[in-house]
Symmetry: C2
Protein backbone atom coordinates (compact mmCIF):
# COMPACT_ATOMS: atom_id res chain seq x y z
CA UNK A 1 0.00 0.00 0.00
CA UNK A 2 0.98 3.63 -0.26
CA UNK A 3 0.79 5.61 2.95
CA UNK A 4 -1.68 8.43 3.47
CA UNK A 5 0.16 11.74 3.47
CA UNK A 6 -0.23 13.72 6.70
CA UNK A 7 -0.88 17.29 5.64
CA UNK A 8 0.84 19.34 8.33
CA UNK A 9 -0.03 22.62 6.66
CA UNK A 10 -3.76 21.83 6.71
CA UNK A 11 -3.67 20.68 10.33
CA UNK A 12 -1.65 23.75 11.32
CA UNK A 13 -4.28 25.93 9.61
CA UNK A 14 -7.00 24.17 11.64
CA UNK A 15 -5.11 24.89 14.86
CA UNK A 16 -4.48 28.50 13.88
CA UNK A 17 -8.22 28.97 13.33
CA UNK A 18 -8.82 27.67 16.86
CA UNK A 19 -6.18 30.03 18.24
CA UNK A 20 -7.75 32.95 16.35
CA UNK A 21 -11.07 32.24 18.07
CA UNK A 22 -9.38 32.17 21.49
CA UNK A 23 -7.55 35.42 20.69
CA UNK A 24 -10.84 37.05 19.68
CA UNK A 25 -12.43 35.96 22.97
CA UNK A 26 -9.54 37.45 24.94
CA UNK A 27 -9.64 40.70 22.97
CA UNK A 28 -13.39 40.93 23.52
CA UNK A 29 -12.54 40.83 27.24
CA UNK A 30 -10.01 43.64 26.82
CA UNK A 31 -6.85 41.53 26.69
CA UNK A 32 -4.65 41.40 23.59
CA UNK A 33 -2.15 38.51 23.68
CA UNK A 34 1.42 39.65 23.03
CA UNK A 35 4.57 37.92 21.86
CA UNK A 36 8.06 39.48 22.01
CA UNK A 37 10.74 37.94 19.81
CA UNK A 38 14.39 38.56 20.65
CA UNK A 39 16.65 38.27 17.62
CA UNK A 40 20.39 38.80 17.96
CA UNK A 41 22.46 39.17 14.80
CA UNK A 42 21.65 38.77 11.14
CA UNK A 43 21.45 35.06 10.46
CA UNK A 44 19.16 34.89 7.40
CA UNK A 45 17.36 31.72 8.58
CA UNK A 46 16.67 33.26 12.00
CA UNK A 47 15.38 36.47 10.43
CA UNK A 48 13.12 34.42 8.20
CA UNK A 49 11.75 32.37 11.13
CA UNK A 50 11.09 35.46 13.24
CA UNK A 51 9.38 37.15 10.30
CA UNK A 52 7.11 34.12 9.78
CA UNK A 53 6.22 34.05 13.45
CA UNK A 54 5.45 37.79 13.50
CA UNK A 55 3.29 37.43 10.41
CA UNK A 56 1.40 34.49 11.93
CA UNK A 57 0.74 36.56 15.06
CA UNK A 58 -0.59 39.43 13.00
CA UNK A 59 -2.95 37.14 11.08
CA UNK A 60 -4.40 35.82 14.34
CA UNK A 61 -4.77 39.13 16.17
CA UNK A 62 -1.77 38.61 18.48
CA UNK A 63 0.32 41.71 19.15
CA UNK A 64 3.96 41.03 18.38
CA UNK A 65 7.16 42.98 18.44
CA UNK A 66 10.64 41.89 17.38
CA UNK A 67 13.61 43.19 19.33
CA UNK A 68 16.42 42.98 16.81
CA UNK A 69 19.83 43.43 18.42
CA UNK A 70 23.21 43.70 16.71
CA UNK A 71 25.39 40.59 16.35
CA UNK A 72 27.86 42.23 18.74
CA UNK A 73 25.36 42.57 21.59
CA UNK A 74 26.75 41.39 24.93
CA UNK A 75 25.35 38.70 27.17
CA UNK A 76 24.42 41.30 29.79
CA UNK A 77 22.52 43.38 27.26
CA UNK A 78 20.47 40.36 26.19
CA UNK A 79 19.77 39.40 29.81
CA UNK A 80 18.82 43.02 30.53
CA UNK A 81 16.30 43.01 27.70
CA UNK A 82 14.84 39.66 28.85
CA UNK A 83 14.48 41.13 32.34
CA UNK A 84 12.52 44.08 30.93
CA UNK A 85 10.28 41.84 28.82
CA UNK A 86 9.59 39.62 31.84
CA UNK A 87 7.85 42.57 33.52
CA UNK A 88 6.40 44.22 30.41
CA UNK A 89 2.66 43.52 30.59
CA UNK A 90 2.18 43.92 26.85
CA UNK A 91 3.92 40.59 26.38
CA UNK A 92 2.57 37.26 27.62
CA UNK A 93 5.23 35.33 25.81
CA UNK A 94 8.90 35.92 25.08
CA UNK A 95 10.77 34.06 22.38
CA UNK A 96 14.58 34.21 22.27
CA UNK A 97 15.30 33.12 18.71
CA UNK A 98 18.06 30.50 18.65
CA UNK A 99 20.84 30.12 17.73
CA UNK A 100 22.42 33.23 19.23
CA UNK A 101 25.96 34.48 18.50
CA UNK A 102 28.77 32.67 20.34
CA UNK A 103 29.28 35.31 23.02
CA UNK A 104 25.75 34.64 24.29
CA UNK A 105 25.10 31.67 26.60
CA UNK A 106 21.74 30.50 25.24
CA UNK A 107 20.96 28.41 28.29
CA UNK A 108 21.44 31.42 30.58
CA UNK A 109 19.08 33.40 28.35
CA UNK A 110 16.40 30.69 28.56
CA UNK A 111 16.87 30.33 32.31
CA UNK A 112 16.45 34.08 32.79
CA UNK A 113 12.97 34.00 31.28
CA UNK A 114 9.95 34.21 33.55
CA UNK A 115 8.74 30.58 33.18
CA UNK A 116 5.22 31.91 32.57
CA UNK A 117 6.48 33.73 29.46
CA UNK A 118 8.74 30.91 28.21
CA UNK A 119 6.78 30.24 25.02
CA UNK A 120 9.13 27.50 23.78
CA UNK A 121 8.73 25.47 26.99
CA UNK A 122 12.50 25.15 27.42
CA UNK A 123 12.89 26.76 30.86
CA UNK A 124 13.82 24.08 33.43
CA UNK A 125 10.63 24.77 35.38
CA UNK A 126 8.54 23.96 32.32
CA UNK A 127 10.60 20.90 31.38
CA UNK A 128 10.44 19.75 35.00
CA UNK A 129 6.67 20.09 35.07
CA UNK A 130 6.55 18.05 31.88
CA UNK A 131 8.64 15.31 33.48
CA UNK A 132 6.20 15.33 36.41
CA UNK A 133 3.35 14.81 33.93
CA UNK A 134 1.89 18.30 34.51
CA UNK A 135 0.74 19.65 31.18
CA UNK A 136 -0.37 23.11 32.31
CA UNK A 137 2.94 24.83 31.50
CA UNK A 138 4.35 25.59 28.08
CA UNK A 139 5.07 22.38 26.18
CA UNK A 140 7.94 22.45 23.68
CA UNK A 141 6.44 23.29 20.29
CA UNK A 142 7.75 20.57 18.00
CA UNK A 143 6.96 17.60 20.30
CA UNK A 144 3.55 19.10 20.97
CA UNK A 145 3.05 19.43 17.22
CA UNK A 146 3.83 15.74 16.78
CA UNK A 147 1.19 14.89 19.42
CA UNK A 148 -1.37 16.98 17.52
CA UNK A 149 -0.54 15.35 14.19
CA UNK A 150 -1.15 11.94 15.72
CA UNK A 151 -4.37 12.99 17.46
CA UNK A 152 -5.82 14.79 14.43
CA UNK A 153 -5.18 11.92 12.01
CA UNK A 154 -6.86 9.42 14.34
CA UNK A 155 -3.58 7.77 15.27
CA UNK A 156 -4.10 7.68 19.03
CA UNK A 157 -0.81 6.42 20.51
CA UNK A 158 -2.51 4.83 23.54
CA UNK A 159 -1.33 1.26 23.97
CA UNK A 160 0.86 1.53 20.88
CA UNK A 161 4.62 1.09 20.76
CA UNK A 162 6.24 4.33 19.65
CA UNK A 163 9.93 4.44 18.77
CA UNK A 164 11.45 7.93 18.93
CA UNK A 165 14.80 8.24 17.15
CA UNK A 166 16.74 11.19 18.56
CA UNK A 167 17.30 12.48 22.10
CA UNK A 168 17.54 16.26 21.75
CA UNK A 169 16.22 18.54 24.48
CA UNK A 170 14.17 20.29 21.82
CA UNK A 171 12.41 17.23 20.40
CA UNK A 172 13.24 13.62 21.27
CA UNK A 173 13.47 13.75 25.06
CA UNK A 174 10.35 15.83 25.77
CA UNK A 175 8.42 13.90 23.12
CA UNK A 176 9.26 10.55 24.74
CA UNK A 177 8.03 11.95 28.06
CA UNK A 178 4.83 13.35 26.53
CA UNK A 179 4.00 10.11 24.74
CA UNK A 180 4.46 7.98 27.84
CA UNK A 181 2.24 10.18 30.02
CA UNK A 182 -0.89 8.70 31.53
CA UNK A 183 -3.06 11.17 29.62
CA UNK A 184 -5.55 11.35 26.80
CA UNK A 185 -3.77 11.19 23.44
CA UNK A 186 -0.68 9.66 25.06
CA UNK A 187 -0.25 6.48 27.15
CA UNK A 188 2.12 4.85 24.66
CA UNK A 189 4.92 2.42 25.34
CA UNK A 190 7.94 4.44 24.22
CA UNK A 191 11.44 3.48 23.14
CA UNK A 192 14.02 6.23 22.76
CA UNK A 193 16.84 5.50 20.31
CA UNK A 194 19.86 7.62 19.45
CA UNK A 195 23.42 7.56 18.11
CA UNK A 196 24.34 5.08 20.86
CA UNK A 197 21.68 2.57 19.76
CA UNK A 198 22.89 -0.71 18.31
CA UNK A 199 20.85 -2.12 15.41
CA UNK A 200 18.41 0.75 15.07
CA UNK A 201 16.29 -1.25 12.63
CA UNK A 202 15.66 -3.95 15.20
CA UNK A 203 13.87 -1.31 17.29
CA UNK A 204 12.08 0.64 14.55
CA UNK A 205 10.73 -2.57 13.01
CA UNK A 206 8.89 -3.26 16.29
CA UNK A 207 7.15 0.10 16.27
CA UNK A 208 3.52 0.92 15.54
CA UNK A 209 4.62 4.55 15.25
CA UNK A 210 8.14 5.78 14.38
CA UNK A 211 9.13 9.38 15.05
CA UNK A 212 12.35 10.44 13.35
CA UNK A 213 14.24 13.30 15.00
CA UNK A 214 17.78 12.27 14.23
CA UNK A 215 18.83 15.07 11.90
CA UNK A 216 20.35 12.85 9.22
CA UNK A 217 18.87 12.05 5.80
CA UNK A 218 17.88 8.44 5.06
CA UNK A 219 18.39 7.25 8.62
CA UNK A 220 15.09 5.37 8.23
CA UNK A 221 14.90 3.11 5.21
CA UNK A 222 11.93 1.01 4.09
CA UNK A 223 13.32 -2.24 5.50
CA UNK A 224 13.35 -0.64 8.96
CA UNK A 225 9.60 -0.02 8.99
CA UNK A 226 6.84 -2.48 9.77
CA UNK A 227 4.05 -2.78 7.20
CA UNK A 228 1.33 -0.35 8.22
CA UNK A 229 3.35 1.69 10.71
CA UNK A 230 2.84 5.44 11.09
CA UNK A 231 5.95 7.52 10.33
CA UNK A 232 6.36 11.07 11.64
CA UNK A 233 9.48 12.76 10.30
CA UNK A 234 10.78 15.74 12.27
CA UNK A 235 14.03 15.88 10.29
CA UNK A 236 14.73 18.85 8.05
CA UNK A 237 18.02 18.32 6.29
CA UNK A 238 19.44 20.23 3.35
CA UNK A 239 20.86 18.03 0.64
CA UNK A 240 22.48 19.10 -2.59
CA UNK A 241 20.16 19.17 -5.56
CA UNK A 242 21.57 20.48 -8.83
CA UNK A 243 18.10 20.47 -10.40
CA UNK A 244 17.03 23.29 -8.07
CA UNK A 245 18.08 26.82 -8.77
CA UNK A 246 19.26 27.31 -5.17
CA UNK A 247 21.26 24.07 -5.38
CA UNK A 248 19.62 22.21 -2.49
CA UNK A 249 16.36 20.84 -1.23
CA UNK A 250 14.94 19.83 2.13
CA UNK A 251 14.54 16.17 3.06
CA UNK A 252 13.57 14.45 6.28
CA UNK A 253 15.30 11.63 8.14
CA UNK A 254 13.22 8.98 6.36
CA UNK A 255 13.74 7.77 2.83
CA UNK A 256 10.30 9.16 1.94
CA UNK A 257 9.60 7.52 -1.40
CA UNK A 258 10.47 4.03 -0.24
CA UNK A 259 9.06 4.29 3.29
CA UNK A 260 5.68 5.56 2.10
CA UNK A 261 5.20 2.25 0.27
CA UNK A 262 5.35 0.43 3.62
CA UNK A 263 3.80 2.88 6.09
CA UNK A 264 0.10 3.57 6.62
CA UNK A 265 0.59 7.29 7.29
CA UNK A 266 3.63 9.49 6.72
CA UNK A 267 4.53 13.17 7.03
CA UNK A 268 6.22 14.77 4.04
CA UNK A 269 9.22 17.08 4.44
CA UNK A 270 8.58 19.94 4.01
CA UNK A 271 4.88 20.29 4.84
CA UNK A 272 4.60 17.79 7.68
CA UNK A 273 5.89 18.64 11.15
CA UNK A 274 7.39 21.98 10.10
CA UNK A 275 4.16 24.01 9.91
CA UNK A 276 3.06 22.55 13.26
CA UNK A 277 5.93 24.13 15.16
CA UNK A 278 4.73 27.68 14.51
CA UNK A 279 1.11 26.65 15.15
CA UNK A 280 2.05 25.28 18.58
CA UNK A 281 4.02 28.45 19.35
CA UNK A 282 0.80 30.36 18.77
CA UNK A 283 -1.08 27.91 21.01
CA UNK A 284 1.50 28.47 23.77
CA UNK A 285 1.18 32.25 23.31
CA UNK A 286 -2.59 32.27 23.62
CA UNK A 287 -2.43 29.93 26.63
CA UNK A 288 0.03 32.26 28.35
CA UNK A 289 -2.32 35.18 27.63
CA UNK A 290 -5.30 33.23 28.95
CA UNK A 291 -3.38 32.50 32.15
CA UNK A 292 -2.38 36.14 32.49
CA UNK A 293 -5.99 37.23 31.92
CA UNK A 294 -7.08 34.79 34.63
CA UNK A 295 -4.85 36.63 37.08
CA UNK A 296 -1.43 35.34 36.21
CA UNK A 297 -1.84 32.25 38.32
CA UNK A 298 0.74 29.69 37.27
CA UNK A 299 0.04 26.31 38.80
CA UNK A 300 3.48 25.15 39.88
CA UNK B 1 22.53 -20.49 35.42
CA UNK B 2 21.74 -18.78 38.68
CA UNK B 3 22.11 -15.03 38.68
CA UNK B 4 24.70 -13.21 40.74
CA UNK B 5 23.02 -11.40 43.60
CA UNK B 6 23.59 -7.64 43.58
CA UNK B 7 24.39 -6.70 47.15
CA UNK B 8 22.84 -3.26 47.54
CA UNK B 9 23.83 -3.01 51.18
CA UNK B 10 27.51 -3.55 50.37
CA UNK B 11 27.47 -1.07 47.49
CA UNK B 12 25.63 1.47 49.64
CA UNK B 13 28.32 1.03 52.32
CA UNK B 14 31.00 1.72 49.68
CA UNK B 15 29.22 4.92 48.65
CA UNK B 16 28.75 6.00 52.25
CA UNK B 17 32.48 5.61 52.84
CA UNK B 18 33.12 7.89 49.85
CA UNK B 19 30.63 10.43 51.21
CA UNK B 20 32.29 10.28 54.65
CA UNK B 21 35.63 11.22 53.03
CA UNK B 22 34.02 14.17 51.24
CA UNK B 23 32.33 15.27 54.47
CA UNK B 24 35.67 15.10 56.28
CA UNK B 25 37.27 17.27 53.59
CA UNK B 26 34.50 19.85 53.90
CA UNK B 27 34.72 19.87 57.68
CA UNK B 28 38.50 20.29 57.48
CA UNK B 29 37.73 23.43 55.47
CA UNK B 30 35.34 24.67 58.15
CA UNK B 31 32.07 23.61 56.52
CA UNK B 32 29.80 21.01 58.11
CA UNK B 33 27.15 19.70 55.71
CA UNK B 34 23.65 19.90 57.14
CA UNK B 35 20.37 18.14 56.36
CA UNK B 36 16.98 19.25 57.70
CA UNK B 37 14.16 16.71 57.62
CA UNK B 38 10.58 17.92 57.83
CA UNK B 39 8.24 15.31 59.22
CA UNK B 40 4.53 16.05 59.60
CA UNK B 41 2.41 13.65 61.65
CA UNK B 42 3.11 10.28 63.20
CA UNK B 43 3.11 7.75 60.38
CA UNK B 44 5.32 4.94 61.77
CA UNK B 45 6.98 4.20 58.41
CA UNK B 46 7.83 7.88 57.91
CA UNK B 47 9.24 8.16 61.42
CA UNK B 48 11.33 5.08 60.78
CA UNK B 49 12.67 6.45 57.45
CA UNK B 50 13.54 9.81 58.96
CA UNK B 51 15.25 8.12 61.88
CA UNK B 52 17.35 5.99 59.51
CA UNK B 53 18.33 9.04 57.52
CA UNK B 54 19.30 10.99 60.64
CA UNK B 55 21.36 8.06 61.91
CA UNK B 56 23.15 7.74 58.55
CA UNK B 57 23.96 11.46 58.65
CA UNK B 58 25.38 11.15 62.13
CA UNK B 59 27.58 8.20 61.11
CA UNK B 60 29.04 10.21 58.25
CA UNK B 61 29.61 13.49 60.08
CA UNK B 62 26.66 15.32 58.52
CA UNK B 63 24.74 17.61 60.87
CA UNK B 64 21.06 16.77 60.80
CA UNK B 65 17.96 18.00 62.52
CA UNK B 66 14.40 16.69 62.24
CA UNK B 67 11.56 19.17 62.44
CA UNK B 68 8.68 17.07 63.65
CA UNK B 69 5.35 18.83 63.30
CA UNK B 70 1.94 17.67 64.53
CA UNK B 71 -0.39 15.85 62.14
CA UNK B 72 -2.74 18.84 62.34
CA UNK B 73 -0.14 21.34 61.07
CA UNK B 74 -1.51 23.63 58.36
CA UNK B 75 -0.19 24.06 54.84
CA UNK B 76 0.93 27.60 55.66
CA UNK B 77 2.87 26.45 58.69
CA UNK B 78 4.74 23.86 56.64
CA UNK B 79 5.49 26.40 53.90
CA UNK B 80 6.63 28.86 56.58
CA UNK B 81 9.08 26.32 57.97
CA UNK B 82 10.40 25.49 54.48
CA UNK B 83 10.91 29.21 53.90
CA UNK B 84 12.99 29.45 57.08
CA UNK B 85 15.05 26.38 56.21
CA UNK B 86 15.70 27.76 52.72
CA UNK B 87 17.62 30.65 54.30
CA UNK B 88 19.09 28.78 57.29
CA UNK B 89 22.78 28.41 56.49
CA UNK B 90 23.18 25.41 58.77
CA UNK B 91 21.28 23.35 56.23
CA UNK B 92 22.50 22.62 52.71
CA UNK B 93 19.69 20.18 52.09
CA UNK B 94 16.03 20.05 53.10
CA UNK B 95 14.01 16.87 52.99
CA UNK B 96 10.22 17.05 53.27
CA UNK B 97 9.36 13.47 54.23
CA UNK B 98 6.48 12.20 52.10
CA UNK B 99 3.65 11.33 52.37
CA UNK B 100 2.27 14.31 54.27
CA UNK B 101 -1.22 14.50 55.81
CA UNK B 102 -4.07 15.25 53.39
CA UNK B 103 -4.38 18.95 54.26
CA UNK B 104 -0.86 19.50 52.89
CA UNK B 105 -0.32 19.88 49.14
CA UNK B 106 2.96 17.95 48.76
CA UNK B 107 3.70 19.41 45.37
CA UNK B 108 3.43 22.95 46.73
CA UNK B 109 5.83 21.99 49.53
CA UNK B 110 8.38 20.62 47.03
CA UNK B 111 7.98 23.64 44.77
CA UNK B 112 8.60 26.00 47.70
CA UNK B 113 12.04 24.51 48.33
CA UNK B 114 15.11 26.40 47.23
CA UNK B 115 16.13 24.13 44.29
CA UNK B 116 19.69 24.15 45.65
CA UNK B 117 18.45 22.51 48.86
CA UNK B 118 16.03 20.08 47.18
CA UNK B 119 17.87 16.92 48.21
CA UNK B 120 15.35 14.55 46.61
CA UNK B 121 15.73 16.20 43.20
CA UNK B 122 11.97 16.58 42.79
CA UNK B 123 11.74 20.35 42.36
CA UNK B 124 10.75 21.18 38.77
CA UNK B 125 14.02 23.07 38.25
CA UNK B 126 16.00 19.93 39.10
CA UNK B 127 13.76 17.62 37.06
CA UNK B 128 13.97 20.10 34.17
CA UNK B 129 17.75 20.16 34.32
CA UNK B 130 17.69 16.37 34.26
CA UNK B 131 15.51 16.40 31.14
CA UNK B 132 18.03 18.79 29.56
CA UNK B 133 20.77 16.28 30.34
CA UNK B 134 22.42 18.51 32.97
CA UNK B 135 23.54 16.34 35.84
CA UNK B 136 24.84 19.06 38.16
CA UNK B 137 21.60 19.43 40.12
CA UNK B 138 20.14 16.98 42.61
CA UNK B 139 19.22 13.72 40.88
CA UNK B 140 16.29 11.76 42.33
CA UNK B 141 17.75 9.26 44.78
CA UNK B 142 16.25 5.94 43.70
CA UNK B 143 16.95 6.31 39.95
CA UNK B 144 20.45 7.51 40.77
CA UNK B 145 20.88 4.47 43.01
CA UNK B 146 19.91 2.20 40.12
CA UNK B 147 22.56 3.87 37.94
CA UNK B 148 25.18 3.24 40.64
CA UNK B 149 24.18 -0.42 41.04
CA UNK B 150 24.67 -0.93 37.31
CA UNK B 151 27.98 0.94 37.21
CA UNK B 152 29.42 -0.75 40.28
CA UNK B 153 28.60 -4.28 39.12
CA UNK B 154 30.22 -3.69 35.74
CA UNK B 155 26.89 -3.61 33.94
CA UNK B 156 27.49 -0.48 31.89
CA UNK B 157 24.18 0.26 30.12
CA UNK B 158 25.92 1.95 27.14
CA UNK B 159 24.57 0.49 23.90
CA UNK B 160 22.30 -1.88 25.81
CA UNK B 161 18.53 -2.03 25.60
CA UNK B 162 17.02 -1.21 28.98
CA UNK B 163 13.32 -1.73 29.64
CA UNK B 164 11.98 0.31 32.55
CA UNK B 165 8.60 -0.89 33.85
CA UNK B 166 6.83 1.95 35.67
CA UNK B 167 6.43 5.66 34.94
CA UNK B 168 6.36 7.34 38.33
CA UNK B 169 7.86 10.80 38.81
CA UNK B 170 9.93 9.35 41.64
CA UNK B 171 11.51 6.45 39.74
CA UNK B 172 10.51 5.35 36.23
CA UNK B 173 10.39 8.66 34.38
CA UNK B 174 13.63 10.20 35.68
CA UNK B 175 15.40 6.84 35.37
CA UNK B 176 14.45 6.51 31.70
CA UNK B 177 15.83 10.01 31.11
CA UNK B 178 19.05 9.29 33.02
CA UNK B 179 19.68 6.03 31.17
CA UNK B 180 19.19 7.58 27.74
CA UNK B 181 21.57 10.48 28.40
CA UNK B 182 24.67 10.84 26.29
CA UNK B 183 26.91 10.41 29.31
CA UNK B 184 29.34 7.99 30.89
CA UNK B 185 27.45 5.14 32.57
CA UNK B 186 24.35 5.84 30.49
CA UNK B 187 23.82 5.97 26.70
CA UNK B 188 21.30 3.13 26.69
CA UNK B 189 18.40 2.55 24.33
CA UNK B 190 15.46 2.81 26.73
CA UNK B 191 11.89 1.56 26.59
CA UNK B 192 9.43 2.80 29.17
CA UNK B 193 6.52 0.45 29.92
CA UNK B 194 3.57 0.97 32.25
CA UNK B 195 -0.01 -0.03 32.99
CA UNK B 196 -0.99 1.06 29.46
CA UNK B 197 1.53 -1.30 27.83
CA UNK B 198 0.14 -4.20 25.85
CA UNK B 199 2.02 -7.50 26.10
CA UNK B 200 4.58 -6.40 28.66
CA UNK B 201 6.54 -9.62 28.18
CA UNK B 202 7.11 -8.87 24.52
CA UNK B 203 9.08 -5.81 25.63
CA UNK B 204 10.88 -7.20 28.68
CA UNK B 205 12.05 -10.27 26.70
CA UNK B 206 13.92 -7.93 24.35
CA UNK B 207 15.84 -6.26 27.19
CA UNK B 208 19.47 -6.62 28.17
CA UNK B 209 18.54 -4.91 31.45
CA UNK B 210 15.06 -4.86 33.04
CA UNK B 211 14.25 -2.34 35.77
CA UNK B 212 11.05 -3.08 37.66
CA UNK B 213 9.36 -0.09 39.27
CA UNK B 214 5.74 -1.13 38.89
CA UNK B 215 4.78 -1.59 42.53
CA UNK B 216 3.07 -4.96 42.09
CA UNK B 217 4.43 -8.36 43.16
CA UNK B 218 5.21 -10.92 40.45
CA UNK B 219 4.76 -8.48 37.58
CA UNK B 220 7.95 -9.96 36.10
CA UNK B 221 7.96 -13.73 35.75
CA UNK B 222 10.79 -15.92 34.47
CA UNK B 223 9.27 -16.36 31.01
CA UNK B 224 9.41 -12.57 30.56
CA UNK B 225 13.19 -12.40 30.96
CA UNK B 226 15.84 -13.16 28.39
CA UNK B 227 18.55 -15.62 29.40
CA UNK B 228 21.43 -13.62 30.85
CA UNK B 229 19.57 -10.34 31.35
CA UNK B 230 20.25 -8.07 34.32
CA UNK B 231 17.22 -7.48 36.58
CA UNK B 232 17.01 -4.50 38.92
CA UNK B 233 13.95 -4.62 41.15
CA UNK B 234 12.85 -1.32 42.68
CA UNK B 235 9.55 -2.78 43.93
CA UNK B 236 8.95 -3.09 47.66
CA UNK B 237 5.59 -4.72 48.22
CA UNK B 238 4.20 -6.16 51.43
CA UNK B 239 2.60 -9.54 51.00
CA UNK B 240 0.94 -11.67 53.66
CA UNK B 241 3.19 -14.29 55.18
CA UNK B 242 1.75 -16.32 58.03
CA UNK B 243 5.18 -17.84 58.76
CA UNK B 244 6.44 -14.43 59.90
CA UNK B 245 5.58 -13.15 63.33
CA UNK B 246 4.51 -9.76 61.89
CA UNK B 247 2.33 -11.52 59.32
CA UNK B 248 3.97 -10.09 56.18
CA UNK B 249 7.19 -9.90 54.24
CA UNK B 250 8.63 -7.61 51.59
CA UNK B 251 8.88 -8.75 47.99
CA UNK B 252 9.86 -6.97 44.80
CA UNK B 253 8.04 -6.75 41.48
CA UNK B 254 9.93 -9.75 40.11
CA UNK B 255 9.28 -13.38 40.94
CA UNK B 256 12.76 -13.56 42.48
CA UNK B 257 13.28 -17.31 42.83
CA UNK B 258 12.28 -18.11 39.27
CA UNK B 259 13.78 -15.02 37.61
CA UNK B 260 17.19 -15.53 39.21
CA UNK B 261 17.47 -18.85 37.33
CA UNK B 262 17.31 -16.94 34.05
CA UNK B 263 19.04 -13.64 34.79
CA UNK B 264 22.78 -12.98 35.00
CA UNK B 265 22.49 -10.44 37.82
CA UNK B 266 19.55 -9.65 40.07
CA UNK B 267 18.83 -7.41 43.06
CA UNK B 268 17.14 -9.04 46.03
CA UNK B 269 14.25 -7.36 47.88
CA UNK B 270 15.03 -6.26 50.53
CA UNK B 271 18.76 -5.53 50.29
CA UNK B 272 18.99 -4.43 46.66
CA UNK B 273 17.84 -0.98 45.60
CA UNK B 274 16.48 -0.06 49.05
CA UNK B 275 19.80 0.68 50.77
CA UNK B 276 20.91 2.72 47.74
CA UNK B 277 18.17 5.31 48.16
CA UNK B 278 19.53 6.54 51.49
CA UNK B 279 23.10 6.37 50.17
CA UNK B 280 22.18 8.62 47.24
CA UNK B 281 20.39 11.03 49.59
CA UNK B 282 23.70 11.38 51.43
CA UNK B 283 25.49 11.92 48.11
CA UNK B 284 23.02 14.68 47.23
CA UNK B 285 23.51 16.26 50.67
CA UNK B 286 27.29 16.35 50.41
CA UNK B 287 27.09 17.69 46.83
CA UNK B 288 24.79 20.50 48.01
CA UNK B 289 27.26 21.29 50.79
CA UNK B 290 30.18 21.27 48.35
CA UNK B 291 28.31 23.69 46.10
CA UNK B 292 27.47 25.93 49.05
CA UNK B 293 31.13 25.85 50.16
CA UNK B 294 32.16 26.83 46.63
CA UNK B 295 30.08 29.97 46.97
CA UNK B 296 26.58 28.71 46.45
CA UNK B 297 26.86 28.92 42.71
CA UNK B 298 24.15 26.81 41.14
CA UNK B 299 24.79 26.29 37.45
CA UNK B 300 21.35 26.73 35.97
Amino acid sequence: MTAQRIDGAAIAAEIKAEVAARVAALRAGGKTPGLAAVLVGDDPASISYVTSKARACEELGIFSETFHLAATTTQDEVLGLIGQLNTDERFDAVLPQLPMPPQIDEQLVIDSLDPRKDVDGLHPVNLGKLLRGQLDGAIPCTPNGVMELLARTGNDPAGKHVVVVGRSTLVGRPLAVLLSNKAKGANATVTICHTGTRELGRHTREADIVVMAAGHPRTLTADMVREGAVVIDVGTNRIEDATRERGWRLVGDADYRAVREVASWITPVPGGVGPMTIAMLLVNTVRAAERAAAGGAFPA
